[in-house]
Subunit: 220 residues, 4 copies
DNA sequence: TATGAATGAGATTTCATTCAT
DNA sequence: CATGAATGAAATCTCATTCAT
């Protein structure tokens, strides 16, 4: 006869962990099912089956189907936000090196979340205004390290004074392209080739003539 | 006694015209409604109301809801295919000029079909394999003039020997970006600025040092 | 400039003939389509196509879909009513011979209208009360010659004094059975065998011992 | 902490019982509504209302509307199959007694399922090939006890050597006739009269002269 | 916490019927 | 007389969500 109506701190923590684990369980299943069928084709029953839980339980952890979608997309965007800066920090202080590392990691994350990335484009419109705003915000946020590298490079005159806003979004577009046009690119390039080619494309515009020899390998 | 129950050529023609007009009427409405609500949120009743016809009539001209979607997307892709080459022909033979004109027109068409372009990305996955294949085919087809300009420019050594396949799809990505990221770009650039900036981005990579002064205006 | 707004008798007759021909054209098509698909599965468009007329025209000759059904069923029942007595008259006055000839012809008509007969059973309930009453009436009417032969045979003591009402309907049931259970009977008996066997079944009960040798062939 | 989320045998049994009860609830309603309106006129909403459940729930227990029809018909045929032999066993070993008891019970079941029996004839064609095959199979199966009695009677020479196949189906036809022609028979005969008359009809053909006095009561 | 039976609104699609030509 | 485009009501079926257990 264990009673658990008085919530001890330990039990709270246990519950929080279980809650997170349940949410993750459902979100993983959501990505899996949505990549197969798309959001609208995914029934809550199918999601529950994939996640190995009951339909009713999903409603304990999410507000509804659209909320699952929002959470799924946010999870993906979180990955970009959280993994980009560490990868750039690992290569040191040189703005060009940082940018190159950032682009590489960005495209790698896209590759690791191929279907989820496409999902972001396909289903954003499904969300309500608040959800869409949150996504845009996260996308801008996640691109901040790239923006910082460009600003630093331009300030240090190792990059041409390009329009930073445009360049950041162009880089993201080219990265997302690996998923959006994977039916085309995936057939003719390996991931590494794609990264190398797109990086060269960007550096060609960025690196001024007097510094090009420093990055000969990247520009060849 | 005059009988006119035979299908005279004139009547056939009249019917064909009416059929086309009805289809266009519905497809225009489809773009309109889908831009507001997305494909899955669009009910056939809402489509019928927007088109000013009855629900039943839509099924006379289209096989079903998905067929409306396919036809809508194909209509948009047709615009790209049909309008790109004429715009490029209008500027003469110089490969660079042709490419610049092509990019301009491409982005302009995207601008004229902002919502429809997004539709192409968002709803392609909804179609069956045959429909998706048809779309990819048309996209490749529509990009042929750009590809030709690149090939010609490289052959004439007025462009660097870039990877043509990648460059063509990158250009399309950047063009589509005007629609895909319009929530961002639309707020900070005019259409002309966007065209100019993206054109410069591409030409920076394409034009070899010894020819850059010829296109100074485009590269500044 | 032929005017036909004053209806001359000749033209009236022409019209009546054409009307009948059109109705027959549609009814023949109706039997054909209904035997393939059933009444409810038959669309007016399919009926029109089969009849080689337009949908609209059917409504000039029939009140609606249900009216087509009623007319179709009545046409079949008319065949029974009109063809039974002549076949019985052809064999002379002997009540037993007349009954045998009637049964033979009845089952033959069923065989000639296999699907239409089944239709009668399947779709009667679809009709309104008036239509159903009309059908029952016609069925009773069409059985009158059989009833007369039984009455005559019993009066002349060449048949046992069976319950005439029951016997008439039993004979009809056994005749209809050729259509209703054709999936079974059709596979193991020829039409003639079926007729001979069912006739013997009925005569076994009807013919008194002292007359059986007169009909030895039928009873063997 | 007691958990009961495992599917205990008890719970499985409870569910099975509930499933059966729900199915029965819907099937009873189906017979009720179809007898009023016919299968095609019956809307799923009307069926749900009659059964006292929601439309959606019907689809949990049946594959669709046609599946409801098939299940309804099969339920009726099951009654024939399951109730015939016991009734015949109850009267002992005499083949004639067994046959008579079988006919009586057969017609009684028809009487107890008047509308359902008509349904079997009216709506079989609506089913797909598999469903129709299943029905024919069950009908043959359900007649097996009658067939056995005839075979035994003929072997024991207490019955004339009639065509057994035909006789079995004729008996079924006459039994079904109580439902098919109830608009006629029902008005002039009681159930018992109908049974007695049809039994006499059959026995007249079956019982040879030398045994007729044993069954005088049935033959009078 | 967890289940899944039950609901019922809403979706797509069909088709009998009408009517302008 | 003849057509068939157009209508729109009604049908089947799905599925997000709730709630008693």
């Amino acid at each position: 006869m264990t009673t658990d109506h008085d919530a001890l701190p330990v039990e709270e923590a246990v519950r929080a962990v279980r809650t997170n684990s349940r949410r993750k369980q459902v979100l993983d299943a959501a990505v899996e099912v949505m990549q197969r069928t798309g959001f609208h084709q995914m029934s809550m029953q199918a999601l529950a089956d994939e996640a190995g839980v009951s339909v009713g339980l999903i409603y304990k952890y999410f507000g509804g189907k659209e909320d699952v979608l929002l959470a799924t997309i946010l999870t993906i965007l979180d990955a970009f936000r959280d993994q980009l800066e560490p990868a750039m920090d690992a290569v040191g202080d040189d703005p060009v090196e940082r940018l190159v590392a950032g682009m590489r990691r960005y495209i790698e994350i896209v590759d690791e979340n191929l279907n989820a990335t496409v999902l972001t484009y396909r289903e954003s419109r499904t969300l309500d205004a608040a959800g869409r705003a949150r996504i845009k915000e996260l996308e801008v946020e996640s691109s901040a390290p790239l923006r910082a590298a460009l600003d630093a490079g331009i300030a240090a005159a190792v990059m041409n004074p390009v329009d930073v806003d445009l360049m950041v979004f162009d880089i993201m577009l080219l990265a997302h392209g690996w998923a959006l046009k994977h039916w085309h690119f995936g057939a003719i390039y390996s991931l590494d080739e794609y990264i190398r080619l797109q990086t060269r494309f960007v550096l060609n515009t960025l690196i001024p003539a007097q510094h090009r020899e420093n990055y000969a390998q990247l520009l060849s």
